[in-house]
Amino acid sequence: MPHATGRASQQIALLLAKHGEELARHIRRILRDDDAAQDVLQDTMLRAHRALPALGALANHRAWLYRVATNIALNAVRSRTRERAALERHAAEHELAVEPHADGHDEARRATLWAQVARLPERQRLALTLRIADELDYEEIARRLGGTVAAARANVYQATKRLKMEVRDP
């Protein structure tokens, strides 16, 4: 992510210095996940920075920041739930494709697959997640994660390939 520069950077630094710790604690308690909390805090700060011209008139930045942070955190919880469901769907389809004689041990296989997804290199894991859970096209994935469309496509491809291989040959 490119740094905000000059005045923008100063404003964000000020907000982070004053409210960062309490907001991070609040967000972390909602999400119970430090990586996700990091994203939410950064989103909150960027949104605050964009809103600053209007926020200037507000007496209470703190209340505003809390409200925004809570909303973004709750959205993250919801999309995490969705993402989990979609990945499980994906996994199920996947297993059917590679293992036509699916037996009754769905749950155990699902857990294995989950562990494998978690072990994917970050770029691949994120690209796969955006593709499957958010159903984004490659252009949008490239925009969100940075990098080229071709790289986004390659990451999704590699992730899928790796999962298939590991499902076949754990």
């Binding site: 950077s9 982070l16 990091q38």
Partner: protein, 198 residues
């Protein structure tokens, strides 16, 4: 503090520091700060790095202090933190006249060498006693530099704990003070040292 609370604070701080790096480019050892809003000498801002207290300043309010910190420390993250609670408690005890020694580590590494010598000499004046600018210049190893010593004291980044208020003019008059002369007078009376003509 419980272990869980410590772990939570570390995790929370990592999240904030990561955001500082990503959004503002500020990285490295953070400066932690805290405010004391109603002391007998007004609003105080405190800031510390890993090696000790680097600022104790008389300020208008939090935004004033924070603006100065961010300007003076342009590359590092700055964050409000409960890590300074022990320093605040030591200052509370001082203002309640329960104890005049702070037991707080002070980090003067950001101060030029002569100024540091002056401040170190000043730190050795006990509560209830005073010294003159000239005496401090002598103790800092530059007997003729009393004006420069005054300058160093005027720029003391850690007021009260490095007790520059205990340094007076040779004629016993107060000289100057960053927090204002009434504050200097209050501190000296509080410690039982009355400015008098030598």
């Amino acid at each position: 503090m419980t272990e869980t609370a410590v772990r939570e604070r570390q995790a929370v701080e990592r999240i904030v520091l990561e955001a500082f790096g990503a959004l503002t480019g500020r990285r490295g050892e953070p400066l932690r700060y805290a405010m004391m809003d109603d002391t007998p000498v007004g609003v105080l801002g405190l800031a510390a790095g890993e090696r000790g207290l680097r600022h104790l300043s008389f300020v208008r309010d939090e935004d004033d202090f924070l603006g100065r910190l961010l300007a003076e420390h342009g590359d590092v993250p700055v964050l409000r933190s409960a890590a300074l609670d022990p320093v605040r408690r030591a200052l509370d005890a001082y203002f309640a006249a329960r104890r005049f020694d702070f037991g707080v580590a002070v980090d003067l590494s950001g101060v030029p060498p002569f100024h540091r010598r002056v401040l170190n000499a000043t730190a050795r004046i006990p509560a209830g006693r005073v010294a003159t600018y000239t005496q401090i210049a002598v103790r800092a190893g530059s007997p003729r530099a009393s004006r420069a010593a005054g300058n160093a004291l005027h720029n003391n980044p850690v007021a009260i704990i490095v007790p520059c208020h205990r340094v007076l003019r040779t004629d016993g008059s107060l000289g100057g003070y960053g927090g204002g002369l009434p504050v200097k007078e209050w501190l000296l009376e509080h410690e039982g040292a009355r400015p008098r003509t030598l």
